[in-house]
C-alpha cells in the first residue's frame, strides 16, 4: 500500500508491505522493519528495526485536521493522502499572504482590540477570548493591516471560528 503523508509542509511517499509478522515500510529512501502491537484503541507500540521501542498515539486532530500523532511526548499534525489540514501552521502566519486568525478554542469574545484598516505589528494582541476562566490574548502572527473583523464583544465563538483577517 502506498500513502502520501504530509508533516509540517513536507510530503513523503510511504509504502507499507507485510513482511512475515512485521511490516516493511519504505520511507525517505530507506526501509524500516516495524513490529506493531496495539495497546488500546488509540495507541500502538512499535519496535523499529528490531531494537527501538516507541509508543505512538493516533487521534483525530483537535482543530479540524486529519490526525495528531503523539510520539516521544510531542504531538505531530499529520495529513494522509494530501487531505487538507488547516490549523496552527496556517494561522500562525507566514511572511506573506493574509493571516486568517481563528479561535483556537471555544469561548467568549471579551474584547476586540482592532478595527478594519488598523495597522498591526507581529505579536500585537488583537482579540481577547475568555475560555476556561482565563482571558486569552490572541495575537497577530505578522505585521500588516486588519482587513476583516468577524466578531464583536460578547459573542460566543466555536473553535476554528474566523476572528480577524490581517493583510
Amino acid at each position: 500500500m502506498q500513502y502520501e503523508v504530509d508533516i509540517g509542509g513536507r510530503r513523503r511517499q510511504v509504502s507499507v508491505t507485510r513482511a512475515g509478522d512485521r511490516f516493511a515500510v519504505d520511507v525517505d529512501g530507506g526501509t524500516k522493519l516495524v513490529d506493531v502491537a496495539r495497546i488500546d484503541a488509540h495507541t500502538l507500540s512499535l519496535i523499529v528495526d528490531g531494537v527501538w521501542p516507541i509508543d505512538v498515539t493516533l487521534a483525530p486532530a483537535a482543530a479540524g485536521g486529519d490526525l495528531t500523532i503523539t510520539v516521544g511526548g510531542i504531538p505531530i499534525p499529520v495529513t494522509l493522502n494530501g487531505r487538507r489540514r488547516w490549523g496552527r501552521k496556517e494561522d500562525g502566519g507566514g511572511a506573506s499572504g493574509p493571516q486568517r486568525l481563528a479561535a483556537p478554542m471555544p469561548g467568549k469574545v471579551v474584547r476586540v482590540l482592532v478595527a478594519p484598516g488598523d495597522a498591526v505589528r507581529a505579536r500585537q494582541p488583537v482579540v481577547v477570548v475568555e475560555a476556561m476562566k482565563m482571558e486569552n490574548e490572541l495575537r497577530a502572527g505578522r505585521d500588516g493591516a486588519v482587513a476583516e473583523v468577524h466578531v464583536r464583544e460578547g459573542m460566543s465563538v466555536e473553535a476554528g471560528a474566523l476572528l480577524v483577517v490581517i493583510q
Binding site: 503523508v5 508533516i7 524500516k32 493516533l58 499529520v78 475560555a131
Partner: protein, 510 residues
Amino acid sequence: MHKILIANRGEIAVRVIRACRELGISPVAIYSECDRTALHVRLADEAYPIGPSAPRESYLRADRVIDAVRRSRADAVHPGYGFLAENAEFAAAVGAAGATFIGPSPEAIAAMGSKTAARAAAARAGVPVVPGTADPLPHEMPDAEIAETASRIGYPLLVKAVAGGGGKGMRTVSDPADLSGAIASARSEAGAAFGDAAVYIERRITRPRHIEVQLLGDAHGTVVPFVERECSIQRRHQKVVEETPSVAVAPALRRAITSAAAAVARAVGYTNAGTIEFLLDESGAFYFLEMNTRLQVEHPVTEMVTGLDLVRWQIRIARGERLDVDPERLLTPNGHAIECRIYAEDPDNNFLPSPGRIQHLRVPGGPGIRDDSGATAGLDVPIFYDPMISKLVAWAEDRPLAIARMRRALREYVVAGIRTTVPFFQWLLAQPAFAEGAFHTTYLDELLRSRNGHPFAEPTPELEQLAAVAAAIDAALSPSSSGAAPASDGRNGSATRWRAQARAEGLGGV
C-alpha cells in the same frame, strides 16, 4: 461524621473522596452537566446533578449545593479549593442546613477573604505587610485621585482584586499612563471571576520570592505551622511549580516566618487548614501577602515531606479532634518535594487552553511519584473550568534527586488528544537557574519572553519520519484499505482484532 458532600469537581474532589474512604466515611459528589462522566462522580457513593456546565449555574450555586446536602443527608461539606471554598455565606449556609463546614468559621473566612481586611489583621498581629492602600479603591474615585494615591505608594505597583486569587483580577503597572486601563480591566476580570469588582493597589516588590506557610488550627486553640513552601515559579501570577523546603529559607528564617504565620492565624481565631502567603525580598525581609482560608492546590508537597495527610486532618479537626502532632516534626522536612501543575494548555501557542478529549493517558509511577488527577482516558476536558488536569509530585531525599525524579516522571507522562504543559516542564526543569533555585516570581515570565515563542516540543526529523511510518501503518490496517493481507497465522489474527476494534472506534477510516 458518616457522610461528606464534596462541593467541588476535578482532582480535588477525587483527593477528598480518597481521604473519606480511608476514614470509612461515605463520599457524596455533585456534578454539572458536562461532568456527568467525571472521575469524582464515578468514585462517589452518591452523586447529585446541580445544573448546567457554567460554574455560575452549578458549582457556584450555593442554593443548589445546599439542596444536595439536604437531599443526601450529608453531615459535613468539604469545599475543596476555588468555587465556594472561601465564601463565608456558603460556610454559614452549610451550618444553617445542619451540616459541618470542613474549614474555618464564616467569620474567619470573611476576615481573611478580603485582602484589605487581611492586611489589617496581619499588621495588628505585628507582621509586616506590603505597602499599599488600606481599603479598596472606591468606584467613584476620580482618576486624578487614584493617580495621586498610586504615586504615593510608588511604581511599579500591582492592581489587585480584593476578592482575588490565582492572579485573576491582577495587573502590574509600571507606567502611570497605564494605571486607569489596568484598573478597568482588573475590575472587569475580578467581577467576572469573583462576582466582586473591588480592587486595591499595593507596591510591587521587585524580584521577590513567593514563600507560603501551611497551617492547621483545631477548635481547642492549637495552631501549628508547617515547613514553608516555595511557589516562585509563576506564569502570569499563576503558580506552576511548587516545592518544599525552599532553598532560600535557612532555619532561622523558617522559625521567624512560620511564627509570624501562626501569629496571624491565632489573631483571627483560625481553625482548620489555611495558608499564609509571604513575599520574601532579596534582602531576606518578608511581607504578609494574603491568607487562603482553605486547602491549597499545592498541599501534596507538604504532605510528602511531613508525612501528614492534610485532608484527613481537616476532617478530624472538623469532628472536634485535637491536633496531637509534634510541632517540631512539621517544621523538619524529610527530604524534598516538587509539584508540577499539568494543564490542558498548549505551551507552543501562548499557553492557550486546549480543551478536548483525552484519547490516551499514561500516568507515571514508581518510587517517590504521586499523581493527583481527575483525568482519565476517554474523558473530555471541559472548557468551563480551570484547565488543570493533574498535579504531578516528586519526592526524594534531596532537591537534586527530586528534580531528577520529576524529569523521569515527565518522560513517562503521556497525554494524547489534547495539548498539555508536560513539554514545558521538561524544558523548565532542565534550566540551570531552576537547578540552582535562583528564581523569583517574575523569573519564568522573563525567561519565556526571552525564548520569543520558540517551541518547547519540536519534533526531530527522526520523530517526524516515525510519525509518517505510524500513519501509514495505521492506514494499512484500517478497514477501508483493501491491500492489507488477510489474516492467517496467530499474529495476523491479532491484527484482525485490531482492525475490528479500529472499526468500532471509528478510527483509521482514511
